[in-house]
Amino acid sequence: MAKVTNVLLVGVGGQGTILATRVLAGVLVEEGYDVKMSEVHGMSQRGGSVLTFVRYGDKVYSPLVERGTADLILAFEKLEAVRYLPYLKPEGTLVVNDLAILPAPVLLGKAEYPYNALDILKEKVKDLVVMDAAKLAEEKTGNVRTQNIVLLGALARRMDIPPGTWEKVVSENVPPKTVEANLKAFWAGWEGA
């Protein structure tokens, strides 16, 4: 079977992983790949754990990624990076945002947040990219809300797709007034990765 590349985007409901997913999918369509994408909606919007699969190649059947087969994982939050680590293949790449969002059981004192998440990831992931996306977004674009695109820039660096395609699709998918800031954010992520 022709090669299919598996990508995961993981985070917390409300973090706005949807824009990043839309841009990634748009880039892959633009490059002429067969693409399938699957996400669970509904309850995930109420602060729950969010998991999105993107698969692309010459021909894709299943929209689901199997554990141990992800080539790339983009994690918008540290705990979620650890949670979905079983999906990463041994030689896979993990891009993680250095951000902790405490889940309800932790806030209530019923569970412990793994504050050593980055250490766990460093030990277990061969190709790990740690990004402080909020800081980069603030420094390079002056707009902290561009951090999704910063993270996407970091992911893009590890994918074999011309940067021009990314620039085009980012520009098409963000509000016109924010195109410049988002392109800066993309390059900040690319260079930071």
Partner: protein, 585 residues
């Protein structure tokens, strides 16, 4: 041109391209985005109906009036719509009529897991199952054609992984289909016993003709490969089978899955050495194929519960070991969905918990009120059940001299969907239950669709805003109170009064969903660290904007806070202060 569309979006696109003129739905995961994506097409009339039964009835009316009509609902919605469906199967249609059922294996956002493929033989209507977004769009066209040619409603059955997975879809222009002439025909449309008995015969004959049609229907197809293994499959299971078996098997991909093409199945079975059925949930195909006398292996291997996946097939068919879990020894905290910061349901549940009263819950965001720390909800069954159950629960007390005072909690959209008959029943039968309507001015859980109390239609036009207080008074409820959900004291006083009132009582807790756009700025709550005693009373509201630090101190995430100030009302030392914001709107 090709677009990346979800199955829901593809069905909406199909409705547009194939001349659908009328669409109706009640929102419910994973079906909601079908109508949401139809609404922008100005060529199609679209409405959010008050419930699925009404949605099917208006669509049937539109069909008889001559228009191509589509109605969409989640799997449990079809239970509500079953009554008109089972007789629409007899009347047949005029303009084509499609009923989309979006089933939810693994019940991600549902109260049960049901396989609505079983409805097709039960209601005696044909069923189509797409395997991806492209087919989801194409089959809208096929379904309209079949509906009109065979004079039947058509069930278009999808699952979450079709509805919400995206794939490439070739999009075309709309082909207008003129509204057909309507001819009065009581023998066909008035299902009184004498007429229905004759239509009953027609239905059997129609099923026989549909089975014949399925033999050459191009979407039922054999893909010959390695003939040592033959797989009969449909829907998303086809993709999983192809992913796992690839060229190492032959496939019979079924798309018209009721009635089944028996000759095609026999031809396929005869052409392979070992025959399997790979299907999600019930042994729907398998049972029928076995009844044909064909030896086949299915549910001995393939699970009957939850979503299927390529991983499961690899494990079950090839004994593949699950991938190693490098974080298995870590006790990671779960991240369940929670009521949002500023959610107007939170203060009401806080009070109901404090009053220790049994709470009959209902379907909506407020189902989240069962989770810690609120833990206020006793039951969750179906749309509208809270009211009837509260009545039944309270009656047992009244009949046996026990205290069975109870509260039924229902949202505003759910009230219009299924709550009103329960209130009529409670009044009629001299009940004394309490109905708390959590009126957040929208259908929040599914993404803010308008409902009969919203004053706006699906198409964004202003309309009559039906007031819940007017409805319950008209239904004979004398004790009706309206309070601001954010006002803890007012909510508590109203519920206490209602519980003690000798008769049916309604408390409308009104405050817009905090996620709605255009709400007044309420400012932010801030912890005054000098006053805070770290007693954590505020954390017992379960608001996700409250952050407790490892040293025991508490802060409020200013980005998350929506200024409801419920935490400030529960703080015993006045350590939470309000900053900014206008008067409470």
């Amino acid at each position: 041109m090709k677009k990346l569309l979800s199955g829901d979006e593809a069905i909406a696109r199909g409705a547009y391209e194939y001349g659908c003129a009328f669409a109706a739905a009640y929102p419910g995961t994973p079906s909601t985005e079908i109508l949401e994506n139809i609404i922008p097409y100005k060529e199609i009339y679209a409405e959010w109906s008050s419930n699925e039964k009404v949605a099917l009835e208006v669509a049937l009316g539109a069909s008889l009036a001559g228009a191509r009509a589509l109605v969409a609902m989640k799997h449990v919605g079809l239970n509500v719509a079953a009554d008109p469906l089972f007789t629409a199967a007899y009347t047949g249609v005029n303009g084509g009529l499609i009923l989309v059922t979006a089933d939810e294996p693994s019940l991600h956002s549902s109260q049960n897991e049901q396989d609505n493929r079983n409805v097709a033989p039960f209601a005696k209507i044909p069923m189509l199952e797409p395997s991806d977004s492209q087919e989801a769009k194409d089959l809208v066209g096929e379904a309209f054609r079949i509906s009109e040619e065979f004079d039947t409603p058509v069930l278009l059955r999808i699952t979450t992984r079709i509805a919400h997975a995206k794939g490439l879809v070739e999009c075309r222009e709309r082909r207008e289909v003129p509204v057909k002439e309507y001819k009065k025909d009581a023998a066909k449309y008035c299902m009184v016993p004498a007429n229905a008995m004759r239509r009953r015969v027609f239905v059997e004959e129609r099923t026989r003709r549909l089975a014949e049609f399925g033999e050459t229907f191009p979407y039922n197809r054999i893909e010959w490969g390695d003939r040592s293994v033959g797989i009969i499959t449909s829907g998303i299971s086809y993709q999983y089978a192809k992913e796992v078996f690839g060229e190492g098997a032959s496939y019979l991909k079924l798309t018209l899955t009721w009635p089944l093409p028996q000759k095609l199945i026999r031809e396929f079975a005869a052409g392979v050495e070992k025959l399997y059925v790979i299907e999600e949930l019930d042994p729907f195909l398998e049972t029928q194929i076995k009844a044909m006398g064909i030896p086949v292996v299915g549910k001995e291997i393939v699970p009957t519960m939850y979503e299927l996946s390529p991983e499961i097939l690899r494990q079950k068919f090839f004994g593949a070991e699950p991938a190693p879990n490098p974080v298995a020894d870590l006790n990671l905290p779960p991240r369940p969905p929670v009521l949002c910061a500023g959610c107007p349901h939170r203060p009401v549940f806080y009070i109901l918990k404090k009053l220790r009263v049994p709470v009959m819950g209902d379907i909506g965001c407020y189902g989240l009120g069962l989770q810690p720390p609120l833990e206020a909800v006793d039951t969750t069954i179906c749309m509208g059940a809270s009211v009837g159950m509260a009545h039944g629960f309270q009656k047992v007390g009244a009949w046996n001299g026990l205290d069975r005072r109870t509260v039924g909690v229902i949202g505003d959209s759910t009230f219009f969907h299924g709550g009103m008959p329960g209130v009529a029943d409670m009044v009629f039968n001299k009940g004394a239950g309490v109905v708390v309507v959590l009126d957040n001015r929208t259908t929040a859980m599914t993404g803010h669709q308008p409902h009969p109390g919203s004053g706006i239609t699906a198409k964004g036009e202003p309309t009559v805003e039906i007031k819940i207080e007017d409805v319950v008074r008209a239904l004979g409820v004398k004790d009706v109170q309206i309070v601001d959900s954010y006002d803890l004291k007012a909510v508590e006083a109203a519920v206490r009064h209602a519980l003690d009132y000798d008769g049916p009582s309604v408390v409308i807790c009104r405050r817009a969903c905090a996620l709605l756009k255009g709400l007044p700025d309420l400012g932010k709550a801030v912890v005054n660290q000098e006053k805070c005693t770290r007693c954590h009373a505020c954390l017992r509201t379960g608001c996700p904007a409250l952050v407790s630090h490892q040293d025991g101190s508490v802060a409020i995430d200013q980005n998350a806070c929506n200024g409801c100030f419920v935490c400030g009302q529960v703080c015993p030392v006045g350590a939470i202060e309000k900053v900014g914001g206008g008067e409470r709107g």
